[in-house]
């Protein structure tokens, strides 16, 4: 007899390979797009804002500034959105009682982390070869902030995966909400550009805390606004992860019997 933890482990390994294959063979040269998609977005934003930003924040390169913002936001958003569809994409595999709905979601989270690391490495290597100063001054803090953003994405994804499976309209709404969130997370401007009167509202968004922490870790001379805290983001991540897992336990039966 195999133990429950051993079964879970083999299921995760098998699902991880299944997800990787699907991701890499989704369309022609899919792996190229995994690398090029963030790059295309960055080039576009750089052309738009690079010059403006140069004047806005002295001593910090506009390109690197936007890169950190886009990467920080997209690791949270991509994780949440990918996880949201995990159960639906693996519905046929729930025929096997070894596979639980939550397995499909957690495995996608792991794959998202790998994809993020590969594309970030590719991006920073490229920028480094172009002569940018790509070594962060506090590497650990940058990694920690990205990890916290990823965790927040997992929390949201876990919740959305259950809710959108039970009420499909919620999934569509979540997708729409992420678009304005892009502009409200300080991806393209520093938090200090927000007027002090509105900063307390701005700081309600947990992603702001992660993205600003990435930047203070990256640029030694970057000044953020008071009130930015990793504790807030990590608290949000913990809360959503716990709530998401609880929803998975509560609705385990209904998620399988579709």
């Amino acid at each position: 007899m195999r133990t429950s933890s051993l079964i879970a482990w083999t299921v995760w390994k098998a699902l991880f390979l299944r997800e990787t294959v699907a991701r890499l063979s989704a369309r022609r040269a899919a792996w190229v797009w995994i690398l090029l998609e963030p790059l295309a977005q960055l080039i576009f934003l750089n052309v738009l804002f690079g010059v403006v930003l140069q004047r806005l924040i002295s001593g910090i390169d506009g390109g690197l500034f936007i890169s950190t913002g886009v990467l920080g936001f997209s690791v949270a958003r991509n994780t949440a959105m990918r996880l949201k569809d995990a159960i639906h994409a693996n519905a046929t595999l729930l025929t096997y009682r070894q596979v639980l709905p939550v397995d499909t979601v957690l495995v996608r989270a792991a794959l998202e982390a790998v994809v993020f690391m590969v594309s970030a490495l590719f991006l920073f290597t490229g920028l480094g070869l172009l002569g940018y100063q790509v070594i962060p001054h506090d590497f650990l803090q940058v990694m920690l902030a990205f990890a916290a953003l990823w965790l927040a994405g997992i929390g949201l994804g876990l919740i959305l995966s259950v809710v959108s499976q039970l009420i499909p309209a919620v999934g569509k709404v979540a997708e729409m909400v992420f678009l304005p969130l892009y502009f409200l997370s300080g991806v393209m401007h520093p938090a200090s550009a927000i007027p002090p009167a509105y900063q307390s509202w701005f700081l309600l968004n947990p992603f702001v805390h992660g993205i600003e922490t990435v930047r203070t870790g990256f640029f030694p001379q970057y000044y953020t606004i008071p009130g930015v805290s990793m504790g807030y983001l990590l608290g949000f991540a913990m809360f959503t992860v716990c709530l998401g897992l609880a929803l998975h336990v509560r609705f385990a039966t209904r998620l399988v019997a579709q």
Partner: protein
Amino acid sequence: MIIVDEVYKRYRTDHGVGKWVLQGVSFTIPPKVNVGLVGRNGAGKSTLLGLIGGTDTPTRGRVERRCRVSWPMGFGGGLQGSLTGRQNAKFVCRIHGHEADLPDRLRYIEDFAELGEAFDEPIKTYSSGMKSRLQFGLSLAFDFDVYISDEVTSTGDARFKEKAAAAFKTLADRAGLIMVSHGEGTLKEFCTAGIWLHEGRAYWFDSINDALKEYKKCPNP
């Protein structure tokens, strides 16, 4: 041994809770006994197979499996459309803990299914006959104590049917079998005991012939 104890099952539909499909079903299947499930369409045969196979949970009551039970085989379930036959086969091998002897199992599945080059094509390009060949090969590649089959013998072309029937026969001798089939001959060939599902209840018969007799006697079959 499989114990089904006071199982109730109903589904949630788009407009609230559906009617009871199973109402207080209890029986015990002893080891190495082949059981045929009979009942009219919609009597809850596939539901019961799902509950026994553990892919679904009862609304009330309890199902206990004291042996290795297969997943419910048949009806194109359990195959991921975007992956190839080989990738699907690998997946099923892995989740059943056969990472070490993966190549052997794969060769067996490939040989049995006889899909040729299509084995490396995505499942969504398969015909229903090809799918059932693969499913049949998959289910035979593992050593279960009890196999659950949902009309799995009635698919495929004439030659494959023959081969499947022969494989099924050796399976029925080696392990237990719980099957649904509308073919009376198939049931009589493979099963000794029978369960008749009628109006949410299950009636156990030690002989499949008695179960079929009762099923046909019912005025609203």
